[in-house]
């Protein structure tokens, strides 16, 4: 089927089987490799993107449901000149180790900050349930609080 959507502000149309995971489309057809494949079972969060502003695990999102939607991947979160508060905080706190899980965490965090601008530790524990094999959770928690600070200072 044909599916049309905006991705990182650019209109795209793809011809693809309707059940194809959106992650496959993003990585293999649109060649945006920032979004990662971890488990393919909606369990790890490495593939997290935004669909109309909501965090979605793209490995478990059939492309048919992307029709007419606004999709953001890690490539569209900010630009080199205008970093998203989450990117800025991640740099300041030197969060990544191997880095594989980080785009998913950053997208999940960016979505959370739109709903919960000043998350408590409990909010973070409850809402950010992605998996990091390198166990960067401690630095991630600091970076999430820092991102909230930067974001509210920017308002």
């Amino acid at each position: 089927m044909q599916v049309s959507f905006n991705i990182n502000g650019t209109p795209q149309r793809v011809e693809v089987e309707e059940h194809t995971p959106l992650l496959w489309v993003i990585r293999d057809i649109l060649d945006l490799k920032g979004t990662k494949f971890g488990c393919g079972k909606a369990a790890c969060g490495a593939c997290t993107i935004h669909v109309d502003g909501e965090a979605v695990r793209s490995c478990s999102f059939p492309v048919q449901f992307a029709e007419g939607k606004n999709i953001t991947t890690i490539e569209g979160l900010g630009t080199g000149d205008a970093l998203h508060p989450v990117q800025q905080a991640w740099i300041e706190e030197v969060v990544p180790q191997c880095g594989y899980c980080q785009p998913g965490f950053m997208m999940a965090t960016a979505a959370m900050l739109e709903k919960i601008p000043n998350p408590t530790d409990e909010d973070i524990d409850n809402n950010i349930v992605n998996v990091c094999r390198c166990a960067t959770y401690y630095r991630m928690r600091k970076a999430i609080h820092r991102a909230a600070e930067i974001k509210s200072a920017n308002l």
Binding site: H19, P21, G40, K41, A42, A43, T48, E54, A55, V56, R57, C59, S60, F61, P62, F65, A108, A111, M112, K115, I116, D125, N126, N127, I128, V129
Partner: protein, 204 residues
């Protein structure tokens, strides 16, 4: 002689219609092919049995939890990752059911899905209740979202999320999820027959 045979045949046919017609008023007599068996009203007790065999199944109860967390799987374990109901049963602010569950089953990831995938409200907790307690809670407007019997029947027989139980897809290993022990058609008929017979709950 031929004419006498004729009258005899007609008389026997008429007798047959009268006898069998009164004995099986709904055309459900032995050997009748007039209507599918499912259209005959089930005795209320049997209808209740069939309905509750479905409603007490894990495909239903996993998302009618007593607490604030859904259950999942054939063993009804608490949903992984600390998933919670949130304010409206659609998950927490940034961890919505729709982060992972979409409108259809996903047989690639093994994540189940149906329209408006969400948890039943706290008032509709079924976990830990007996089948008669579940039925009583279903009929109680204070706990059933203020639904009339007609609305309950509609919810039970037409809501896509409820009927998902009969097409639950495959799990993350590709194994089919267990379905309730009654077919969808029989379940729907049972709900309707039970309601039409007065929605009685047996004393147990």
């Amino acid at each position: 002689m031929k004419k006498a045979n004729h009258y005899y045949l007609i008389a026997m046919l008429l007798l047959g219609v009268l006898v069998f017609g009164f004995a099986y008023p709904d055309g459900q007599g032995e050997g009748s092919t007039a209507a599918p068996a499912a259209e005959a009203p089930m005795p209320a007790a049997a209808a209740f049995d069939q309905m509750m065999a479905v409603l007490t199944h894990k495909r239903c109860v996993n998302c009618h939890p007593a607490g604030d967390r859904p259950h999942q799987g054939e063993d009804s374990h608490l949903h992984h990752f600390g998933v919670q109901r949130g304010e409206t049963g659609h998950g927490l602010a940034a961890l919505q059911c729709s982060t992972c569950h979409q409108e259809t089953n996903n047989n690639i990831s093994g994540v189940p899905g149906a329209p408006h995938w969400h948890l039943a409200p706290r008032s509709m907790a079924w976990e830990g209740l007996s089948r008669t307690e579940i039925a009583a809670s279903m009929l109680d407007p204070a706990r059933n979202g203020g639904r009339s019997l007609e609305e309950i029947v509609h919810h039970l027989t037409e809501d896509a999320l409820v009927l998902w139980a009969f097409e639950p897809g495959v799990d993350d290993e590709g194994n089919p999820r267990e379905k309730p022990p009654v077919s969808k058609a029989d379940y729907i008929q049972a709900v309707k027959d039970w309601a039409a017979a007065g929605a009685q709950i047996p004393n147990e």
